[in-house]
Structure formats: C-alpha cells, structure tokens
Symmetry: C2
DNA sequence: CGGTGAACGTTATTTCGTAACATGGTGGCC
DNA sequence: GGCCACCATGTTACGAAATAACGTTCACCG
C-alpha cells in the first residue's frame, strides 16, 4: 500500500494447514456454546481472513470465495462479515475499508489497530481506553463500542 | 441515525450569520499565515460544514454546494475536503463516511469523537492518547495519526 | 510578459455496500 | 411424520462513495 517504501503488503502472515484447521475448529466450538451457527459461507470467509497476509477488502474476499475461482455474490460475503464481526471473530478497519481476523484471544473486547502506511500491515493490540471512557462519561455519553486506528510505520518499515 | 429513538438528526447545531462569517474569516487568517489559500470551493465546503447541524456526507455537500441548487462535481468537494482535513479545519468520521468541522480551538490535534447512534450527533473531544501511544511505542510503531470513534448514546437520547 | 506549479472543471469509471424478494434448511410442536 | 416459524442463503439489481485521467485556468515569480 505504501508509497514510501518497498516492503511487501501486510507483514502479518496468515495461518495455514493444521493451524488453520484448528482455529476454525475453535471458532466452531465457540459458536456452538452460544447457539450460533458457523455455516459454510461464514466459515469460508473466516478461513480466507485467517489465511490472508493482511487486511482483506470485501471484494478481495468476494473474488477469492469460490474454491475454483468463481466469485461469491456481494451479499454472501457482507453477511458473513457482519456475523463474524458480531461474534468477535473479525474486525473491520474503517480507514482501510478492510477486514482482519481477530488476533486477541478470549471473547469480547474493544478493537484497536496499529496500521503501517508503508507495507499495509495491521496489528491488533489490547487498548487501554480508561482515559477516553472517562471523558465520554464526563460528557454524559453512554458508550457502546470504541475503535481506535493509529496510522504510522511498523518496525520493519522504519528500518527501511 | 437511530433506529432506537425519535430525536432529530445531529444534535450539534451549526453556526449562522455573523458567527459563520467570523469563523470563515478566522480560517482565512490561519491559511494566510501558512501560505495556504482558502479558495472559493474550499471556503464554500467549510461554510457548509460549519452551518450544518451534524456530520455531512460528501454527497450531501455535493448536492448543497451550488448557491441555487446546482450540485458540484464530486472531485470539487473531495478535493476541498482533503484540503480542509490537511489543515485541520475538518475531520472525516470513518465509521459514518461523513465529515464535520473541527470544534477544537487551536492548531493540530488528534481527533476523537463521541457519536450518538440514536440522533446522529457527533461530538469532538480532546482525547488523552497517552496509554495507546505507549502501547504503540512498545510495539515499535512510529505513529503519525490516531483517530478514535466511540459509538453510543448522547445525554439527550439517554433521557428518551 | 512568459514560465511554473497549484488548483480547478469535466467526463467517465471504479469501488464499496445494500434493498428486495425468492428459495432452502433446521428445529419445535402437534 | 407433517406442519409451521425462523433463520440463513441465493440472486438480481441498484445506490452510494470515491477516484482516474486530462485539459484548462489562475496566481505568483522572475
Ligand atoms: Zn480482536
Ligand atoms: Zn510496514
Ligand atoms: Zn478537531
Ligand atoms: Zn442522541
């Protein structure tokens, strides 16, 4: 994505093979525990996200959806993404119009990302929103969700 | 733009008349101080943002651009918005695909918003990003910009 | 004046996301 | 089993958001 350096896209490597199967199995388990269904299209989109090397645009997923090169229809993928976000399996990065699988173990959490403008990597981190939640409370707001996106350069790209 | 309550859109009222003229004059002054030019389309878009009651979509601005109902061409408005963002006169709210005029006095700052899912209001506040900047540093990232968007319900809408 | 670069006007296209409605599968209930 | 209610999916079409590309204009400087 970068105009500034030569690094490849999306420094965060996707998972493959056995690790991927295991991750999908764990998702299945988490769904079963809450009466939710990890149906075929949902599972497929999660698989694509987990296997990708960086944030994926919706139409990237649409194009890659079919096993033999046939694309999906947009609503198929958008609906799956909505589900995956709702259950915390994926996050949307607003400033990129792109999606990533959740990299934080455990259940519900607020999302925060460090995004490299150079190589396109997006690293999820555990945010401490205490200060901002306090400000929101002071303003009388009841906060449902918070997202934070920090743009900059990752360690690899800083080294040039 | 809520599905949850009856309140009108965008609780933050726009400014009119003399206050508007004054704000535009101040912007002109700030531009002059840095060799930047507040040209007609830029000034017009800023005027629309300042006069609006809440976050404005790009195509809202495009439709309202002409003095007598003629819309602008998209690049006209998008270029103006890019300029206004660059100089800190406006912010883009990613999760709404919309723009607001900057409500924080002074110069450069990192943007943070409290957004009401019910009435569509978006309130800018002064964030304390110390905790997150520390986390970014620990991860080796060099941060250029940070934005935060908190969704929830404003005081008026909480009262129902 | 001419030359330079930023800003603008204009056309067309791409990218992103959703409305609407028909179809299909799953599980409870009689 | 047969029926129904519900959720999820398939499909078509459309609407919204943003940008590419290219020629023209305008301010500024020598
Ligand atoms: Zn996560
Ligand atoms: Zn990088
Ligand atoms: Zn601001
Ligand atoms: Zn509200």
């Amino acid at each position: 994505m970068g105009t500034e350096c030569h690094h490849a896209d999306g420094a965060h490597p996707g998972i493959k093979g056995h690790a991927l199967t295991h991750a999908l199995g764990a998702a299945e388990t988490r769904c079963a525990a809450t009466q939710e269904r990890l149906t075929a299209p949902r599972r497929r989109v999660l698989e694509l996200l987990l296997g990708a090397d960086g944030p994926q645009k919706a139409y990237d997923l649409i194009a890659a959806f079919g096993e033999h090169g046939e694309p999906a229809k947009p609503p198929t993928v958008y609906r799956a993404l909505e589900f995956l976000e709702r259950l915390g399996f994926a996050h949307r990065i607003e400033s990129l119009n792109a999606y990533v699988p959740c990299r934080i173990d455990g259940t519900e959490h607020r999302a925060a990302f460090l995004i490299c403008d150079c190589c396109g990597a997006a690293e999820e981190f555990e945010p401490d929103f205490t200060a901002q939640l306090k400000a929101a409370e002071a303003a009388g707001y009841e906060v449902a969700t918070i997202t934070l996106e920090a743009r900059g350069r990752c360690p690899a790209c800083r080294a040039d």
